[in-house]
């Protein structure tokens, strides 16, 4: 019984780990503008994160080496530093977006302006990482996974024409009112939302900290192959809800409250409260993860101690980098950067930066010095290379599309 409970908790945590501010914003926006015609992009990002997380998790479990450690070792200090800076800028902006998401959710719950919540939330995140009450994070994710199931119930209640939904998913077409450029721009946004770089380096770092070994690989695979797909299902529910409720009324999603509107319309006040709780929990959990991911990437580059259980006295530099991360993120938000706009930028840039971290991991997964007999099989290499090519295409296309469409237009 305890075992079943643990697995269930693990799955809920993985759902919450997949869904963050990126999915809340991009899923709803896309649903409203494109119906389910871009569901393939979320499915593609699901495929991507499964391939990437499986490789990174296996490398971490077998070699005990986290991603940024490998980035520097394999790409050298110069390219590694450029890579670190690019990832840091993006992850830092993600921290700001997630903290903004928490603050906006608190605003919706209390009607106190989100700017007043920003310092409070940043402080709370710091307290959690400082005092290492790490269960808070896992519980936040578990809670958000559970609460966000309500979006699925809402969709069910809205009674969509399932035949039409299936048609849009399987035979996607660009809606006549949208340009080709914005269609693909949003495809990249959804793809990036599902595959933010921090997710993978957090995942693999976690595997090392919890001393995963070869024997834990089945558990790793269960997490990846069950939790992430359910997270994608939540994203698709948000998208479908938006396409049923917001799309027909030509409502463009520019605010977080609109992401909760379909659930509220379909199921009522309590569902609204539950879905806001879900928003809070998944953005708060992601704020913790992204903050730590910033610290991890710096520490792994320079060879410092890092981890959820590292106390301030164990590594001052690591803790100082966490503090600076939170201060910078709060400063970005307090300079009145719109968290929703920030999210839109971050997810597209995340997609553009993916090859930087993916490439070294793919190479090390083939190195017998680290992996022994667990090197990539030809099948996982074929998938891995196909995915690398896809990432390169996305990476090259992302910024030009952002310029052409004026970030979505």
């Amino acid at each position: 019984m305890k075992r079943v409970f643990e697995i269930a908790l693990g799955i809920l945590t993985a759902i919450g780990g997949f869904v963050d501010i990126g999915e809340l914003v991009a899923g709803s926006q896309v649903g409203s503008r494109f119906g389910m015609n871009l569901a393939w992009a979320t499915l593609l990002s699901l495929f991507g994160i499964v391939v990437f997380a499986e490789i990174a998790g296996r490398v971490a479990a077998v070699s005990q080496r986290p991603v940024f450690d490998l980035v520097r070792e394999r790409l050298g200090p110069r390219f590694g530093l450029a890579n670190l800076l690019a990832s840091l800028v993006i992850t830092l902006a993600t921290v700001a977006a997630e903290i903004g998401g928490v603050a906006l959710t608190l605003e919706l719950a209390t009607s106190i302006n989100y700017l007043l919540w920003v310092p409070v939330v940043a402080f709370l995140v710091w307290v959690v990482v400082w005092k290492l009450n790490f269960e808070v994070m896992e519980n936040a994710f578990g809670l958000s996974g559970l609460a966000l199931v309500v979006t699925g119930i809402a969709v069910w209640q809205l009674r969509p024409d399932w035949g039409n939904v299936a048609h849009q998913v399987l035979h996607p077409a660009k809606p006549g009112t949208e340009s080709v450029a914005s269609y693909f721009y949003y495809a990249i946004a959804l793809f990036g939302a599902g595959l933010m770089p921090y997710e993978v380096f957090f995942f693999s770092s976690g595997a090392i900290e919890q001393h995963w070994a070869k024997r834990d690989l089945p558990v790793l695979r269960a997490n990846v192959f069950i939790g992430f797909p359910l997270g994608a299902a939540v994203t698709l529910s948000l998208m479908l809800g938006a396409s049923l409720v917001l799309g027909p009324r030509q409502i463009d999603v520019g605010h977080l409250y609109q992401a909760a509107l379909p659930t509220s319309v379909a199921l009522g006040k309590w569902a609204l409260i539950v879905v806001l709780l879900g928003f809070f929990a998944c953005t708060f959990g992601a704020a913790l993860e992204t903050t730590l991911a910033c610290g991890y990437s710096i520490a792994q580059y320079f060879g410092w101690q890092w981890g959820k259980f590292v106390a301030p006295k164990d590594d001052a530099r690591f803790h100082l980098s966490l503090i600076l991360t939170l201060v910078a993120a709060a400063a970005v938000l307090l300079s009145r950067a719109d968290p929703v706009k920030l999210t839109e930028f971050v997810i597209v840039l995340s997609a553009a930066a993916l090859p930087l971290t993916y490439f070294p991991v793919l190479v090390v997964a083939n190195d017998p010095e680290y992996m022994g007999v667990k090197t990539n099989t030809p099948v996982s290499n074929a998938l891995g290379v196909a995915f690398l090519v896809l990432l390169l295409v996305v990476s090259v296309a992302a910024v030009p599309l952002m310029i052409i469409t004026k970030a979505g237009g």
Binding site: E73, R74, L75, G76, L362, V363, V364, N366, D367, P368, E369, T375, N376, P378, N381, G384, V385, L388
Partner: protein, 123 residues
Amino acid sequence: MRLSDLLERAVVDQHGRNWGQVHDVYLVQDGPVSATAAAFRIHGLIAGRGTFGTQLGYVGRPGYEHDQETRGPWVLKALVRRLQRRAVYVPWTDVVEVGDHQVIVRSPPNGFDRANSGAPSSP
């Protein structure tokens, strides 16, 4: 001397011929034995054009057998191997001087051996 004094330095011989940059340095644990273990000594270096990909581990080297190489993906492996196919092995006994901007070597009449062609001649 530091490793960074060697890596990516230009390698030039007595005739002024440029052999490329230093890719990597070959260490063998055959030095004087101290309290704990024998010391590593520099036996030679690899020089060639374009150090891209040296740290990826795709290219076979003396003392670094075929089964230790990074296996794939083969596209990348083929690319790096092609880029580094002309790299040569320079025994340390042929190194004349490690200067600020270049490493001066004395090349044998037939030039240096290709780096990926079998074992180095022991000093």
